[in-house]
Symmetry: C2
Subunit: 337 residues, 2 copies
């Protein structure tokens, strides 16, 4: 059913098609790869591969083109991730090492990835889920308003302005701040709701409305972290690639945070290097594009995901290598800081 030569043929077709962007025929195939058999034999193999759905011809009497299923087999069994060159690795390292800030890390990463792969890069901000509270700050802005700031151990900051039910003075705010910090310091974000549940009861009655207001904002900001921030770069790289599907759809998808989130994240294993090819993609506007994504974060606790998006006809080994390498370096940087 799938003997070795047929697989070799499929691999050759994918490689040639990716590099030339033209349907590849039997004759060209035996010339470029030394398969040791004649074109006619290859033709027979190709007929079988086509029947099985791994390749297709755009029209009669044209060469063959890999289908999504063909790419899938190629990625799963016929290729191996190509490691970066030493020069590239050094470039990554020095480029990322200069980052001063979590924002800076993310920005640099996304640019780096776009440049490295010459595709559209997408980086998700480190998620708060697995991070812990480092500090909660309440800053009075005026009598009826204060700013609530939540700082996590990943360097992420969530801030929010709170309108208060009634006037408060600095002392009450300070008290509440101290209580909140005592209660939450170092605890995981997911356990915050439990921790603060009984907080109002431990306060004097007159402070309870204030506490309730602030807590509701706190909890709300925890929920909202779900729709994480995402940064993209390298949209210009879309201009070169010729998409089978309209460019417009792709650009539209890139502006939909939710779509991007799902593309990057819809996997049980955050850390895995995942590839989603063309129609495997849930979003119809992105048929014709593939996504290569990986998780990043230090060791046990995965923080978030990053990846690139490009035409189905992409160089998977190289792209996967770049994505994996960048993910690793970012993890390293984040772990060190």
């Amino acid at each position: 059913m799938v003997d070795d030569r047929k697989l070799a043929v499929l691999r050759a077709i994918v490689e040639d098609y990716v590099s030339t962007n033209e349907p590849v025929g039997s004759k060209a195939l035996v010339e470029r790869h030394n398969l040791g058999v004649s074109p006619a034999t290859i033709r027979n193999d190709m007929a079988v591969l086509e029947e099985q759905g791994y390749i297709a011809q755009p029209h009669t009497s044209a060469g063959r083109v890999p289908t999504d299923k063909g790419y899938r087999l190629f990625v799963d069994r016929l290729s191996q991730v190509k490691p970066l060159s030493g020069a590239e690795r050094r470039a990554i390292e020095s480029f990322l090492a200069g980052a001063v800030d979590i924002d800076d890390v993310v920005t640099r990463t996304v640019r780096l990835l776009a440049q490295l792969t010459r595709q559209v890069a997408v980086v998700q901000y480190p998620t708060l889920t697995s991070s812990t509270v480092r500090h909660v700050e309440l800053v009075p802005l005026n009598e009826r308003r204060l700013m609530f700031v939540l700082i996590t151990n990943t360097g992420r900051v969530e801030q929010r302005v709170v309108e208060l039910p009634d006037a408060v003075d600095e002392a009450r705010v300070a008290h509440l701040r101290a209580m909140l910090n005592a209660c939450l310091d170092g605890c995981g974000l997911t356990s915050v709701p439990d921790k603060v549940a009984d907080l109002p009861e431990r306060l004097p009655a007159e402070d309870r409305p204030l506490a309730a207001t602030i807590l509701s904002v706190l909890l709300e900001s925890l929920v909202e972290r779900q729709d994480e921030k995402i940064v993209i770069s390298g949209a210009a790289n879309l201009a070169g690639a010729d998409f089978t599907v309209g460019l417009r759809d792709v650009l539209e998808a890139l502006e939909e945070q939710v779509v991007l989130m799902r593309l990057l994240g819809e996997t049980s294993d955050l850390s895995a290097l995942t590839v989603r090819i063309g129609s495997e993609n849930p979003y119809t506007g992105l048929r014709g594009t593939s996504i290569v994504a990986a998780g990043y974060g230090s060791g046990d606790k995965q923080l978030a995901r990053l990846g690139v998006l490009g035409p189905t006809r992409m160089d998977y080994p190289v792209t996967m290598g770049a994505v994996r390498a960048v993910a690793r370096y970012v993890s390293q940087i984040l772990a060190a800081s």
Copy 2:
């Protein structure tokens, strides 16, 4: 030299070309606009307009197309900004009114503008120049590290992690925090450097290295505010428009914050509604595109600028109306909060 009818002809050419996207000829012109003269007369006028550089023909025996100079004259003297419809105004109002946050305001604004004009919208975050310090916060992260947070009256937050020269305790940090706030509260960002200049001298000697470190970070963050953040939306709208110049260049320009800043901002009068047409543009990659921009901010103190970017062949009256209207509404929203 420029009699009325020639101007009317130019206006008609611009309007027709914008709506049809095809070179417009003398015959079509007299049919669609009742100019009361014959095609031959129009031809004479067009010959003069061409000689003066307001219009051009793509090739012999084709209709005429406005040049950048022609659009310029049209915008300056032949058109008037078209106000939005009542429905549009209501939509803007309700859409912006829902914003909860400075980030939210900016995000909603940029989306709104993109949708309204069907072009690429660009919004600059409110600049800090004219804003004042509302609060400075120092949050110890551990012994050798603290987070520095600067909150302004526009709701903007700058945060930064500071590595300390030596270990500090909470008391010293609290003291410094109090001093900083006493010193800076309510003062304009531009005057911050003066205000803090003598601060170290007023501290006990052992606190001076700490203070110096923090102040240097503070001042640095003030300088960095120069390269303001910019948000864009509606890149998908580029797909429809056919650019004379490559789409790639435009997409590249959109990723260059600096370029965008210059496009929006290079004007002495922040509040003016400015139009930059095609080659008037400093950036070569954006020949073929025009920018319509306006300042926003409440009354006397202009905060920043926003605008849209589209093909030179755009409906200037409508676009200008939309940009102006959005700028006004945003100003309103910001003033209220």
